[in-house]
Each structure stands twice: as C-alpha cells, then as structure tokens.
Symmetry: C2
Subunit: 414 residues, 2 copies
C-alpha cells in the first residue's frame, strides 16, 4: 500500500484504538478468569422466546423485514418502546424516538452533530471509554469533573469552577455527558438531588445533557430514581436531555439495537445524520425485537437478570472482603445495579502493571487509567461481575488478592 | 427545546436531508407506480432458506450470536466472504476484510478517515446521492467529473484538467469515488480500458480509489469486467483500491450487511474508526448470513435476480420506445446490469417540476438534479426497474409518456 499518511483526516489521527478491546483478546484464553469485559451473562438470553419471535416475523412479515426501512425506525418497534418507557413513567411519542444500532451509534451521532475540532464535552472522571472514543474521533476534548466522595454525582462546586474557567479561557463547551445509573466504570449512581442540580446547571448554561442509561433497568437493590430525562419532562420540560437506551444489557447485545429519546427537533437532526451513516438500522432485527416485546416477556428477563446480578455482585464484594489485603487504602464500590464495581488500590500500585501480573496468574480486570481522557488515575481497576460464574468470581478474586498482596510485599521490601 | 443552534457543529450545518428519502414517502401511496426507490424486488428474497439458516443459528450458536462480537466481524462470515470473492477471481485474506452495516456505513467510515473540512473527493457527474451525503457530512466537497459520451467511464481528459486546476488552486483531494458497475443513478458501466486508466491515474497521483460495487453481481447481459480492486491485485498490486460490497442488492437490504476489502493497513484504520461508531456489526445477522452462505444457495438467488431484472429492464426500455415522444433529445441508457436507467429529456424540461405533474398522474421517478453536488443538470430522471411488476412498468411508463408529451405541448404553445 502506498503511504496514505498525508491523506488521513485530523479526526483519523485523533482516533485511538480501544486498549480495552485489544486487551480483551488477551484475556479471552479459556483458562483466564476475566472480570475485564462488559458482557452480560449469556444464560439470561431468552433463546427459545427469541427464536419464536423471529419465526413469527418469517411467517407474517418476512418481505418487509428483509427490505429497506425508514431511518427513523420500524413503527412497530417504536410502538413497543413507547409502551416500555410508559411503564417506567416516561411519556414519549414517535417523534421523540430514533432507533439506532445500539448506544455506541447514538454516541457517534450526537458527537458528530455537536462537535467541531477543539470543542469540549463535560464528563465524569472516570467515565465510559466508548464515549471518550466517540468524542476524540471528532477531534474534541473532555472537561473532566470529579465525583463527590459520597459517589452520588459530580462535585458541583468543581463543575461550576471548571466551567467558569473554561468559558473564561474561550473554550467552547457543547454538552454534558453522564451515566447517572450505575455508571461504567465505577458503578456510581447519582442521587435525586444531584440529578436535579445538574439539570438546573443545564438550564442555566443552555447546555444539553447526554444521559446514557444502558444499566438503568438493572437495579437490583433499592428503588429507581427518576432519570434526568424524566425530571425535565415532569418539571420545567425544557427538552434539554438526550437519553440513550439499549437492548444490550436488558436483552442481548448481539442484536445491536438501541433508541434515543429527545425533543422532536433534535430527533430530526439525528435522523439526517444517521441517513448518511447507515440509511437505516437492521430492519429484520427491529421487527424481531418488536415481536419479542409483544410477548410481554421482556420484563421477566429483566427481573431475572437483576436477581442473577445481585447474587453475583454480592459474591464479588464478599470475596473482596475475604481475599483482599485488609487495608484502609484498598476500597471498592458496592453498586446497587449495573455490571461493574470499582476497586481503588494503594497509591503506590499502578494497576496497568498489576494487570500484567494478574494475567500471569490467570485473572484479568481493566486498569482504571483507560477511563480518563487526560491525567488518568493509575491505582484503580474496573471489575465486571455479570459474566463470570459464582465459582469463577470467588476463585478469580482469590487469585487477584494474592497478586495484590504480592505487590504490597514488593513495595514494602523496596 | 432551547435554541441549540449555536451548539451544532459545522458538519451538522453541512448535512443535507436526502430529498429522495423525503420524496419516497410521497411516492409510497398505494395507487402510485413508483420508479423512484432503489428497492430490490421482494419476490427474490429466499425467505424459507433464510428462515432455516436463522434457526440453525438458534440451534447451534445462539448464545454467541446474541453476545458482543469483534469489530472486525464474525470469523465464520468472513470465511464465507473469502470463498464468495474467490469464485469471482478475487483473492483476499481475513485481514483484507471488515464487515460493516452495509455500504452506507462504509462510505461514512472512509469519509471520516480521510476528510477534513474543505477537502475534495473526485466523483462522477452524476453519482450516488448517499456518497455525496457522507462526504458533505464531514464538510468536504466534490470535484465532479463528466462521463464520456460513450458512457464507458470518466472523460479522462476532463479528469486530468480538473485535477491539475484543483492542485494549482491549492485544493486538497483525498480520494476518487466511483461505481464502475452499473452505477447509481445512470446505469453506466466502465470499460476495461477506462478502469485501467483510472487505476493508472491513481498510481500517478497517489490517491486511493473508493470503488463502490453494490450492483457488480447483478450483470444480466454480457460478461463481467474485472473490478479495479481486481485489476490492481492482478497487476501492480499497490493496494490503492478500497472496494465496497453489500448484501443489499444480492440478497436482502433489511439485513444491513456489507463488507469492505482493502489493504490490511487500511482495514486496521477502518476498525479503529468503526469501534467508536458502533463497536461491532449485528452479530446475530452476521452468523445468520454465514449460515445461509454455507447452503451454497446464494449463487442461485443471484442468478434468478439477474434473470428477473433482465426481463424488467427490457420491459422498461421497450415501454420507453413505445410510449415516450419520439424525439432525438429524449434518450435513455440501456444498462447491462443494476437496478436503474437514466432518461434524458429535452433541455427545456425541468424534471424537478415534471415530477410533481407525474405524481398527479400517479407515477414517480427521481429527478436527476439530486445526483449532483453542484451545478446540477435539470433535464434527467432516474428510473428504477427492479421493484415494480412488469404490468406496473408498462402502465407507469405509459403514464409518464403522457406527462412528457403534455410538457412538450405546453412548451411549444408558450
């Protein structure tokens, strides 16, 4: 191939391969217990009910399902999504909805619509890597906001301060990215007060909030807190929140199916952007999932997922208590939902290096540094509890505890 | 919704809604005979064989098919694509292949990787609207090249001239976009000589060729001409051609499935870009189509599609001869493949206006002006022959002939 180097765009030069996805390949060897991925437990997939739904599409609507569809999304699926949201107290119409190829496509669409090179997005420290990749792929940057010690949302004083400094420095901020429910990577859940405070901040500054809610339905302890989309809708109703939802964690990620909820004027812009990206989302899969939703069985799958993940999360935190060295500077979150928890190590432990030792001992996690766009913290790790079996969770944490204990001994010798 | 106007990106402001897709909604009323869309004939979809293949995935591999997959694409599907290409004389390995959500996503990926605002892409006049939209959505522009009167490819003298002028004017050209086989909208097919000439031009200038081949397999008259990807591979093998293929025209567009063939170093860049766009393509559909390809029945579907479209194209050109006013300045292409033909009207007829009258008479086409990014020609129309039945083709062309005859009478009166 000739050297096309000078022909690539600035965006291409700002794109970063996901170190996590590269690492996942390493950790997929069969004898490694991996807490690294973000995979749902495959035993929750309702295979036979999904098969039945697919066969109904073949019976009734095959030629429509195999043909091109509209960019907005299949009418039948959008009807089912409206009902699904309504049960959670969210009232939307078809013009509030765009069907997408799961949330990552939504992150790409929103980034493309708002970001010029050099623009900023406000986001948590740490936050979801895929959102950071989407932002970077348009040569934009992140204004990182720390969470409170109570882990109940952004440190609002820090937000006000960093925002004022950025504006004073002439930086263009385009939106605020948050995952209020059991965020990736740390499992933090925003309190009602903090959600309302961020919404008020959005009203004051005129910035839209991009609320990413892939784990919202996977709350296994306590009661749901209204989403920011809902708080806006039930309150001032200014339409500033763009809410992303997906089937990836509540049903099956291999279907690559999700939806955006937003004000109709924004949805119209998203539709034009999506047209140039892929014309329309997989039509067969849209009609297949609509058919599956019509069975009414999705709620049961979600309930069973919650229960399984509650048991697994408890197993992981129990194992951490049992196998991790007992020190004040080793801590972990105990999330009430989602797929991940976040372990903080003593400041002298660099989890990027620790990971290599862990892989030698046949256990894997994701080093926390990957979840910061700049000035990463190096002493944390993301641990997934949804995918491994209970036995694997106990054995894997045991191995990890030994790796950590050894790192501490080596540090104390030095 | 607050006025987010000042927050949108320059790219957002350069995005144009497809007038064609908007118009399609108008033309979808049941009593209109529409030659406007680009839809395959639904009676070629092998519904029962596709159902059987989907059920095999449910039997054998459901939990894998419902889980996340790699960005590169399913190994099984890529193996089948390698065999499929091999039968056409194209030799590729897995690292030459990226599975995508059909060709439009590939057009988006390539545009994102190469185009900075203000950059240029060389493309035909006219050319595929979706490619133009992808280019515009990165605030880039098109250097339009006319076709020869023989309709066998670019006017190479015009290309050399426009290229030299653009370089002299400091314009940055990033790639050359072509659809050598039965292009959309006009149905032109490039001769072997013209393909080789463009390849030589690419070698000289160092520009990559983006060769879009959705209709390549739908040749219903004559013998295949090697693709530019193939000519490069069998000749100097410099790896300058990026070739896009899709299941949309050879099997079923509702599966949203296609593939990019290119040099491994380019594929690696595309993979990083795609990660930030959607993580991976629909895994279930990839494994489903791999299973379908293993039946060996795809070749039969393609053969039957060719035969059906040959008959329909002949019906349409016969009807044009029968019903269009007999004038030297009314002409049409007689393509040897693909889904479209291109009708040129007398210069005093504006087909944008003619379309409104045609819709009143319950027949629709796409006005040619939509296929030019600048200085559109206004006296042409794209007519699709794949979707309508033979009776509809005859009746629709009859109606259209009457509309044209009336427009000529009105012009002669004025």
């Amino acid at each position: 191939m000739p050297d096309f180097g000078s022909l690539f765009s600035a965006n291409a030069n700002n794109m970063k391969a996901s170190t996590i996805r590269e690492l996942l390949k390493l950790t997929q060897k069969p004898d490694i217990i991996s807490f690294a991925g973000g995979l749902p437990a495959p035993d929750v997939f309702p295979v036979e009910d999904l098969r039945a739904a697919a066969n109904i599409v073949f019976d009734r609507d095959a030629r429509k399902a195999l043909q091109y569809g509209t960019t907005e999304g299949d009418d039948g699926l959008r009807d089912e999504l409206i009902k699904f949201e309504s049960k959670q107290g969210v009232t939307i119409k078809k013009d509030n909805l765009l069907v997408v190829s799961a949330s990552q496509q939504a992150l790409d669409i929103v980034a493309k619509l708002f970001l010029d090179p050099g623009d900023y997005v406000i986001a948590g420290r740490p936050t979801y890597l895929g959102a950071l990749q989407a932002i970077q792929s348009y040569s934009a940057k992140v204004l990182g906001i720390p969470f409170t010690d109570a882990q109940d949302g952004f440190d609002m004083q820090a937000l006000e301060k960093r925002y004022a400094e950025a504006i004073a420095a002439g930086k263009k901020i385009k939106y605020i990215y948050v995952i209020p429910d059991f965020q990736n990577p740390a499992g933090f859940c925003w309190s009602l007060e903090k959600r309302q405070a961020l919404l008020d901040f959005a009203y004051e500054t005129g910035l839209p909030i991009l609320e990413d809610s892939p784990y919202r339905e996977i709350r296994f302890i306590g009661d749901p807190i209204p989403s920011m989309f809902q708080l806006d809708q039930d309150g001032a109703n200014k339409g500033v929140v763009i809410n992303l939802k997906t089937f990836s964690k509540i049903l099956a990620p291999g279907t690559r199916m999700g939806w955006i909820m937003a004000a109709p004027a924004l949805i119209s812009k998203f539709v034009v952007a999506k047209q140039a990206m892929d014309l329309c989302t997989n039509v067969f899969t849209q009609m297949w999932l609509a058919e599956y939703m019509r069975t009414g069985k999705l709620d049961g799958v979600i309930a069973s997922t919650r229960e399984k993940y509650r048991v697994k999360r408890t197993m992981m935190t129990d194992a951490l208590r049992k196998y991790m060295p007992n020190r004040d500077d080793i801590r972990w979150t105990e999330p009430e939902g989602g797929l991940f928890l976040w372990v903080t190590m003593p400041s002298f432990i660099d989890t990027d290096k620790l990971l290599l030792k862990a892989i030698e001992r046949k256990v894997a996690f994701v080093a926390g540094s990957g979840f910061y766009i700049d000035e990463p913290e190096h002493n944390s790790m993301r641990m997934n509890f949804s995918y491994s079996s209970l036995d694997q969770i106990e054995e894997g944490v045991k191995r990890l505890g030994a790796v950590v204990a050894e790192a501490i001994r080596e540090h104390e010798k030095a």
